[in-house]
Symmetry: C2
Subunit: 167 residues, 2 copies
């Protein structure tokens, strides 16, 4: 194992998304055990003006797949944000994991100096690849990865940090 | 700029902790504007059996400083967990940032293959340095960095993702 842009993106996203799947499975089982429809959790928010669980998962997926694609210098695959059920969100995460494995380590060679431009609603942000990973891709990914965990935990789902970490 | 173990730990932690300070300052101002004592936020939890805001901040600090130290192969500095006010927690984060700057890039050279052993309450976890960073240091750090953000957001503090990211 050697440190590389690929090692610090692909392996990090992959481990985290696999744990996200595990946490989502526990949420499905917990809703069943407590006798309510899991769609309540899919629509849950931590504040009225925060994005719901479903949108958080779509964004976790987006920051993983889009970041890998941008580092590789290819067009990110477009996943339509159509998921409305927990099962559909699980499928979205699985599809994201499949995409990550199509981006090879060699595709990211030299990506630390790649110019990356992100178009936001109101502005454009530019980075070199390394800075993109340090201050954009990883923080954004974890922001949307930890928030659905917190949402489920706030709603009484029986998960702990070990479910999140997987070690 | 080149990818290295130092670049993928020091710069990531530093940017995040500086944004955490910014978010904490907004929390202090928001409590003042809404006319309640900020200690309410310091003691806030997302669930009765989750750690409060204060402990989340101490752990964010711990995962940053301890991870850097372990990668450098030195004893992590011990910060006593005595903070009970928002001002004391701000000072803890500042002290953590100061420590991070004492760990040089050269001290982390070759740390991707360093054997790292973490003693937990009920078991011991072992990693090579790279895997430690990928699946332990970064996920744990962000877990405790995003959770206080979510705690404040849940309690109506006027923060958004841009405050978290800083870009």
């Amino acid at each position: 194992m050697q440190i590389s842009m690929h090692a610090m993106s692909h392996a990090v996203f992959k481990q985290a998304l696999n744990q996200l799947l595990h946490v989502m499975e526990k949420a499905i089982a917990n809703a069943r055990a407590r006798g309510f429809d899991v769609s309540v959790l899919v629509a849950a928010r931590l504040a009225p003006d925060m994005l719901p669980f479903s949108r958080q998962i779509q964004l976790t997926s987006d920051f993983a797949k889009n970041s890998m694609a941008r580092l590789a210098g290819v067009e990110p695959p477009k996943f339509d944000d159509v998921e409305t059920t927990m099962d559909e969100l699980v499928a979205r995460v699985k599809k994201t994991l499949e995409y990550l494995d199509t981006v090879s380590a060699s595709a990211l060679e030299g990506s630390e100096t790649r110019q990356i431009t992100i178009k936001l609603r109101d502005r454009t942000v530019q980075f070199q690849g390394l800075e993109f990973l340090q201050v954009w891709a990883l923080p954004n990914f974890f922001f949307h990865h930890v928030t659905p965990y917190n949402l489920l935990r706030h709603n009484g789902v029986d998960i702990g940090k070990r479910d999140f970490l997987g070690r």
